[in-house]
Symmetry: C2
Subunit: 220 residues, 2 copies
DNA sequence: GTCTATATCGGGATAGAC
DNA sequence: GTCTATCCCGATATAGAC
């Protein structure tokens, strides 16, 4: 329980940084401010974090850990697919909620293929794959078309990314619009998965699978 | 035809900037380099462009104009929906092609709701609406479900944004993967529009329309 | 190993002289 | 409209206290 003094300092700096990013914005917060708020010299901040952006990465990594633990707990008991996926989404959004503005800073890098902070980058691969794996667990116990099945965890992850992007934009009180979007889109998504099993749409499904497999090899 | 000296200077600076962004990258190019390449002092560059990013915006605006003219020409004659949409996409990608690396800089801001450079922002509204209108024209002459029809231009625009994002990431030779993605996804998209008219999927379609209408009011 | 203090540099942005 | 001088900040480096 008693962490080393070093870990405590690092923690103090990271907490101060996230706090400042949240209240003043990422670009507006200076390293000097962060250091001052954490009670260390400028060099101290750089001793623990190679750059301002490294702090974003550190937050991203930690959140992945915390959320993953919660998700694992929730998915232990059986439930319908919709509820299982919702549990994953809820856990993530609940943890993200106080840091919504700050997360905008993270998504600023989403589009740069070479940026380590991009959710699609090599550096964030471990986090991404863990998240995809969560959806694979959520899908357990559901009857799925054989050809589509291997792609669904990744599709759900992409769906989650879309929701997070929408949520970052969502300026409605307490992001109610995002909540509503999940309420409407998730049942639709689940219904589509169910519909995809019908022989009627077999050709269409085949095409979708072909598309997914072509556009694959880890996007980046 | 004869532009003012001021407009020429501005043009010279913008051309130099795009050239440098393309060859050396956005972050790596300094304002001092741009100014030097354009033959003006640092302050001169800032006289015409409020920031380095404003240059990206200027490029974005100009490309919208040029592409829009081309699109208007192509859509004058009738053709099947798939070909009409493809014409719009081709025109855009053709103009973007030499600036692929540089456009990454634009998409870096896609996720920040308050960033003027975001494709969803108030500042880019005019460009966005013009682009949505192009797809509305492309849809003319196609039988569509009444309830879904008003949303399709915007959905196609969103589809286009997704493709552009994929294309920016696409490191395959000459972005062949994106080409392949369009080849596979566009017929699928058109087929889904066609399928949406069946009475069988009426309830599902209604739900989708409800979702679109809820998540509306211009996202931002 | 964990920091403080300080100096230095490069680059975005601005003010004001001309 | 254009240039020069200047400011601020992120980042790096270094010397040294403990």
């Amino acid at each position: 329980m008693s962490r080393s003094k070093s870990a405590e300092t690092r923690e103090r700096i990271l907490t101060a940084a996230i706090e400042l990013f949240q209240t003043r914005g990422f670009a507006e917060t200076t390293m000097r401010e962060i250091a001052a708020a954490a009670g260390v010299a400028l060099g101290g901040a750089y001793y623990y974090f190679a750059s301002k952006e490294a702090m974003v990465m550190a937050f991203y990594e930690r959140s992945a850990e915390v959320v993953h633990e919660r998700v694992a707990g929730v998915l232990a008991g059986p439930a319908r697919l919709e509820e299982r996926v919702r549990a994953v989404l809820d856990a993530r959004f609940e943890y993200f909620a106080p840091h919504r503005r700050f997360l905008g800073a993270l998504f600023r890098h989403a589009a740069d293929p070479r940026d380590p902070l991009s959710p699609f980058s090599e550096e964030t691969r471990a986090i991404r794959e863990e998240s995809v794996a969560e959806f694979a667990v959520a899908l357990e116990g559901t009857r799925l078309p054989r050809d589509l099945a291997p792609h669904l965890p990744w599709l759900l992850w992409l769906y989650q990314m879309g929701l997070i992007l929408f949520w970052i934009y969502d300026r409605s009180p307490r992001q109610q619009r995002t909540r509503r979007l999940v309420d409407l889109s998730l049942p639709l998504f689940v219904q589509l998965i169910d519909l995809a099993r019908l022989p009627l749409v077999r050709t269409l499904r085949r095409k979708l699978v072909a598309l997914l497999e072509e556009s694959w090899s880890e996007t980046a």
